[in-house]
Symmetry: C2
Subunit: 487 residues, 2 copies
């Protein structure tokens, strides 16, 4: 890269076109060829850094060389979340229209902190999130045309934090925001609630000791009676219960908390109810799964992640509140340099007051592209396909004499184990992931180490699921034979 | 969009190629044509939403139709941050290599929460941030090869929050994280510190009343003697000072706090020192501006935003700490489903423990692309060009009998006003922005309303700055004539 007369060191429009086409081609090929690579990167700690020069280049380099280095030095360190053989954690499925939406957003380079700084960035987001209220059978109160509204957060962690903060201020009449006096606030989740609630309690000054992890039933769902009893106990100890997080689809086993029963406890005790439906929420668009959202009409806030199971690349968490004023009052700070007529008129939404950071990308573009490309019909089709594949996989597991299902499978997750000890199952997971042919993760249920098999990547088809099952069975058989031989 | 045999409703690789090429062309043309559009969107609240259908499409639509709707319905609601005539707030300059880096990151769709979930996502980030320590003349202790390390946050707001949280835990020996007992903690900024510090105090349970806004001198720099006196006063009132945020380049006027003097006060009192160099930090790569970072070698944490003035699209804030263990201990929560050997070995970085959210994009790709494409030399060239253009603009202003400079211009910002009352200057800003030919914002300095003119967009050249000055002068003259006629 050398200094050019017209535009200094910048990439010219013609160069951008050329490199852009090549990169689009690379990504199209990547999507076709991704099965060539080991799903889980096989590098050791430090391997990638060891290939990189110790100091940055003083003089610019050709884009072709950078891409060549990417392929040679970086790609081996990628774990391929977009592989159809990725069954770990949760899906982070993306799609053509989503990638193009992200590209358009990056190219426009707008900053959506205020309505004024790009009105379309705010209004498209508000509008598309109102669409989603209908699509997901959520209550009307979450719409911007009612008392509430939706906002895109980077993650469910941030959504939960914003819900917790707003509940904290409601409970203390802004005593924490103003004076930092937290009093003796107590938050509630279950033993299965996502760790982000604990993190939010740490961040918000509630203290992790003041998060009660309510026990679950044998389906790993929060026990509303135990919740109620704990609240009574805390109150009589002089504490102030203020917040409950219910989960629709826990991370570990996809258990669905009894939201309606929990809502009754919350109403009785005037607690904020937040519902975290990070992955499972997407399924509620299918009529046969709409009951997932039973009780959510009584929640104060709700979130789900299109960046998990709705073909929209990270980051895209949709966070809804029933009362936007409370959220805004909790997070607003208005310095002089951000003052403007539109804000002061009260006619517009300034999303900086709905989130922790000030700045924000134009993330609704990708969500809008996805909804327009697939239509609700297309999204439902693919979610139903994943659920059907999961049922088929679960059948194979339960038909096998060597394996057992650990909890009844739900939607797109199967938790199962080989009929042997934890150590065997741990070795099985390690051997499978080392093969590079698939990637799955584990959890423990009642002390039992088990395999989590989650189906939701964009291009996962029956052939991938069937091959995975054959590999799991075969690998277990080999491991068993190896152990038998050692005896 | 109809159901296809092979891949359901998904966009095929061939379609992705076709639409991708077209979008790359659109963006290349946009960069060339952006001056056609009014810089500040001229729509009224609700205009954009009014064009969008009330419900989402049931059936998928052609990508060409979505792009046509984007151009017709969304584009008028865009404020063009990438216009060379954008002089408002701060730049959010992007570039070809950055946009392509974001595209590649979106296409790979990896989740970088743990080292394991994509080792290259973590290692490239750590490595490039180590590079930046050298490039920006920052202290070695901020490197991962020392006791510290860097991480990409979405924004300086989030970086400041993470610094504040870690300082809170250091000061209370984890009493807030654990038990929520905040004690009587007091944080310090100046009257000019960014509003994100106030927001962080609200979020972290410190309370905005416990943030002291130390007065500034006539250059709007924090007064270290006043800071010291306030700390003495707070201690004698039984409060616990714990955190100071110094600013290198304030949002309002780009004032640079005396970091070294503030560091002495912090050392004497054992307070955490965070340095916020969000925009100005980039300039420190130029030897003639390296003194901007004088004193930063004594700070506990530091951040600057490549997404402001380093040709990297939002979001990309680089946050450095001197002691990574403290940060990690503050933000870590380790549930079973995230446990893995690499994490437990202690040999790797898991960036989820360096930030509020759990998930994260592959943001270092765009930063790496930018550094490789421009080289340090290219970045310096363009920063120097912006600084030179700003000096030229400031000269025109100070040579004009009708205008006055309000504070001595620094780097790429000029704060000035027409020699008339606040109301006149406010009308001047409104008239200029309504013209669509440029966009600038305002601030108030000692009660005086003034125009902020910030130069830093990628394609801003002398011709744009000169045209802006002619427009400002001409518009002021017209406004004055109009007022004179009314008398």
């Amino acid at each position: 890269m050398t200094l050019k007369d017209n535009h200094g060191y910048h990439m010219s429009a013609e160069e951008f076109r050329r490199h852009g086409y090549n990169l689009i081609d690379w990504l199209a090929d990547y999507a076709l060829d991704v099965e060539r690579y080991p799903v889980l990167s096989q590098v050791a700690p430090g391997d990638i850094r060891a290939k990189l020069p110790p100091v940055a280049p003083q003089v610019g380099e050709r884009f072709e060389d950078v891409m060549a280095d990417f392929e040679r030095d970086i790609l081996p360190g990628i774990t391929h979340w977009q592989s159809p053989n990725f069954f770990a954690y949760f899906p982070a499925n993306t799609s053509g229209p989503s990638i193009l939406g992200e590209l358009l957003g990056a190219g426009l380079g707008v900053q959506g902190m205020l309505w004024l700084t790009s009105p379309a960035c705010t209004e498209l987001e508000t509008h598309v999130l109102d669409w989603l209220v209908d699509i997901l059978h959520l209550p009307r109160k979450f719409k911007s045309t009612s008392s509430g509204g939706g906002v895109i957060q980077d993650s469910a962690s941030s959504a939960t934090l914003c819900a917790l903060l707003t509940a904290r201020e409601r409970a203390t009449r802004f005593n924490v925001k103003d004076s930092g006096t937290t009093g003796r606030l107590i938050a509630y989740g279950s033993t299965e609630t996502h760790s982000s609630l604990e993190k939010a309690c740490a961040i918000a000054g509630i203290g992790v000791q003041n998060l009660r992890k309510i026990p679950t039933n044998d389906r790993l769902q929060m026990d509303p009676a135990a919740l109620s009893a704990q609240i009574v106990q805390d109150r009589s100890a002089g504490m102030q219960p203020f917040f409950v997080c219910a989960t629709v689809g826990t991370t570990s086993t996809l258990a669905v908390d009894p939201v309606a029963e929990i809502a009754s406890v919350c109403e009785e005790n005037q607690l904020w109810l937040h519902v975290d439906a990070a992955m499972a929420g997407s399924a509620a668009m299918c009529e046969e799964h709409a009951a997932l959202h039973r009780g959510v009409e009584r929640a104060d806030s709700y979130c789900f992640n299109p960046h998990k199971w709705m073909f929209t690349n990270f980051d895209c968490d949709c966070f809804f509140v029933a009362d936007r004023e409370e959220l805004i009052n909790t997070l607003t700070i208005l310095p002089e340099y951000l003052r403007n007529q539109a804000t002061e008129s009260g006619e517009v939404i300034d999303y900086r007051d709905w989130q922790v950071p000030l700045g924000r990308r134009f993330r609704s573009l990708k969500l809008w592209f996805v909804l327009r490309h697939y239509g609700v019909e297309g999204l439902k089709h693919h979610i139903r396909e994943h659920v059907a594949l999961t049922a088929r996989f679960a059948k194979w597991v339960s038909d096998s004499p060597d394996f057992e299902i650990v909890v009844p499978p739900n939607l797109n997750l199967v938790c199962f184990r080989y009929r042997a000890d934890n150590d065997f199952n741990k070795k099985l997971v390690e051997a499978l992931n080392r093969s590079g042919r698939l990637f799955l993760t584990h959890t423990t249920v009642r002390g039992e180490y088990c395999l989590r098999f989650c189906i939701g990547q964009t291009n996962t088809a029956e052939s991938h699921v069937a091959a995975a099952w054959r590999l799991i069975e075969g690998t277990a058989r080999q491991l068993q034979a190896h152990l038998d031989a050692e005896k």
